[in-house]
């Protein structure tokens, strides 16, 4: 007995390298895990393995020509990054986007939110060991890819929005396809719930793991579902309205103690998971309302052929699938941007991991990365 006690007290810290290539699918992220056995003393994230210099590339292309680059800032939320860049430049130019274009933007963005949440929810369950929900959601995502492909020509990296509006119009056929997809998909949300949401193994691995309290979430700059799961009721679509969102109704899910499972606490991994599942339902609701309310009209305002905004600067923000995406543009009056800066949610989410990791186990680190929904292109740009 004394032998066992002596071995347990003989602690030695091991630095374990996790990444940049690892079985989880969040891209090239690396963690230096300082651990003694299974329990970590801290996990230090290392990023930059996908730093492509997107902010510097802006200084060598035209204002309008930067749009394809905005897709690559976050390829799973390409519509949102397109929109926020277009909004920032439109604010500088003083251009008003026609109403049909605003509704088309909202439709494109909510479809993108659905597609993104499919991957996020699928990856959360896959990282924790359940492969089936991921494949189910990939199948639904293929239908969304088809819809978006017939809208703008590409399945990923869409380049759909333009400064002043959108690039392509939709016809009744497309709207009917969208409605058919919504009719097909909404019952499947219940199937997904029945399949995995209440699964004992999933719940025990996520509740109550890695609780982030509301003060920490705000101080470390968390946004989106991560922030709402910690109990802070903030959504840019509702609180700083933009585009056509004032004309649609939707509710914003929040994390709460005991929601979904008695042991779950607001701010733990399970609440972050549940908030995203509910957001999928709300996106379908917004899409149905947009289908009803889509007005006729132009899809793009008149902007000059060579865009030269006045020498000023502007910060625009949208509520992307992962949270607030902000674009800060600085113009010096010339045809190329002087500085473009992307404020992305994964950057802040990665920075908080070192702060919450002491005391977690290595298996919990996987749950934390998956539910904080960090991906490499957003972190590194």
């Amino acid at each position: 007995m004394t032998e066992l006690v002596r071995i347990a007290e003989n602690r030695q810290e091991l630095v374990l390298n996790m990444g940049p290539h690892h079985p989880s699918t969040h891209g090239v992220l690396r963690f230096l895990v300082h651990t003694d056995g299974e329990v970590m003393s801290r996990a230090v994230p290392e990023v930059g393995y996908l730093h492509r210099g997107l902010e510097k590339m802006a200084e060598s292309v035209n204002w309008a020509g930067y749009m394809p680059f905005t897709d690559r800032v976050n390829y799973l939320e390409a519509m949102f990054t397109n929109q926020v860049y277009a909004m920032a430049v439109e604010r500088l130019l003083g251009v008003e986007v026609p109403e049909r274009a605003e509704f088309l933007r909202v439709i494109a963005c909510e479809l993108n939110r659905l597609a993104n949440h499919f991957i996020t929810l699928g990856c959360i369950t896959m990282d924790l060991g359940a492969f089936t929900p991921f494949v189910y959601l990939l199948r639904e995502r293929e239908t969304i890819n088809d819809l978006i492909e017939s809208l703008c020509g590409n399945r990923v990296t869409h380049n759909y929005m333009r400064i002043g509006g959108v690039a392509h119009d939709v016809d009744d056929d497309w709207l009917r396809h969208l409605e058919k997809f919504l009719d097909h998909f909404e019952p499947l949300i219940e199937e997904f719930r029945a399949l995995i949401v209440g699964n004992e193994i999933l719940v025990r691995r996520m509740a109550p793991v890695a609780v982030i309290c509301a003060e920490d979430a705000v101080a470390w700059g968390l946004v989106g579902p991560n922030l709402r799961a910690s109990g802070v009721d903030w959504d840019v679509r509702r609180d700083l309205p933009y585009s056509a969102y004032p004309q649609v109704e939707f509710s914003v899910p929040l994390g709460r103690d005991g929601q979904g499972d008695a042991q779950s606490i607001a701010g733990d991994c399970y609440q972050r998971f549940l908030v995203r599942v509910e957001e999928v339902r709300q996106s379908c609701r917004i899409l149905r309302q947009c289908l009803q309310k889509l007005p006729a009209g132009d899809i793009k305002a008149k902007v000059p052929k060579l865009i030269k905004p006045p020498a000023a600067e502007c910060y625009a923000a949208v509520e992307g699938a992962r949270g607030e995406i902000g674009c800060y543009v600085v113009s010096d009056g010339g045809p190329k941007p002087y500085r473009v800066k992307w404020r992305t949610s994964s950057f802040s989410a990665m920075s908080i991991i070192e702060h919450i990791s002491p005391g977690l186990m290595i298996a919990d680190l996987v749950a934390v990365i998956a539910t904080l929904d960090v991906i490499a292109p957003e972190t590194d740009r």
Binding site: H21, V135, R141
Partner: protein
């Protein structure tokens, strides 16, 4: 080159051993689950239900020790290049590299960027280049099938054992190799 003959017990086929081995190898290509950027999403969709790569016998493996194909899916940065080289060195022969998409082939959209390597072939030997940004799952499957066609023609045993016999008279009986 395979000679098929029907016989009293049903039939038998005679052909080079290379063909048999290559047939087995090309229908069980395991690729490394490795993707850096947007092409990785299309790689995942290729493994998904519609453009199912599993029907070709292709499974994803997380460790390079068990993989045959390294699909460079996405942009390669200088910081990542040495890690990719490590992954490639850990794979055992015979191994193949597919550069998927513009970024892995030539640097793509990011050629002028300060931190992007202009193509995987600057530090790795690449076998197949797939254009696209990102390539559709069908293009990736075409690229994998090109690797299969490369494998079909590989003369392993011919190089290892084969010495072609002298053939001066075509009517002399053929010797066993």
């Amino acid at each position: 080159m395979t000679h098929i003959e029907r016989g009293p017990e049903g039939g038998y086929a005679v052909g080079p051993l290379d063909r048999l081995f290559n047939l087995a190898r090309k229908h069980s290509l395991w690729y490394l689950l490795f993707g850096t950027a947007c092409c990785a999403i299309e790689l995942m969709q290729t493994g998904g239900p519609r453009a199912d790569a599993d029907r070709f016998g292709m499974m994803f493996r997380s460790t390079p020790r068990q993989a045959d194909v390294l699909i460079l899916a996405g942009t390669i940065t200088y910081k990542m290049a040495s890690r990719i080289r490590l992954l490639y060195d850990q794979m055992s022969e015979p191994k193949y590299v597919i550069a998927m998409g513009s970024c892995a082939s030539t640097g793509g959209l990011f050629q002028k960027s300060y931190s992007v390597v202009n193509g995987g072939d600057l530090f790795l030997p690449v076998d197949v280049y797939i254009p696209g940004c990102p390539p559709r799952p069908e293009s990736l499957v075409e690229g994998l099938m090109t690797v299969q066609r490369l494998i079909e023609k590989e003369p392993w045993l011919k190089k290892a054992w084969g010495k072609l016999p002298e053939r001066s008279d075509p009517h002399l009986p053929k010797e066993n190799v």
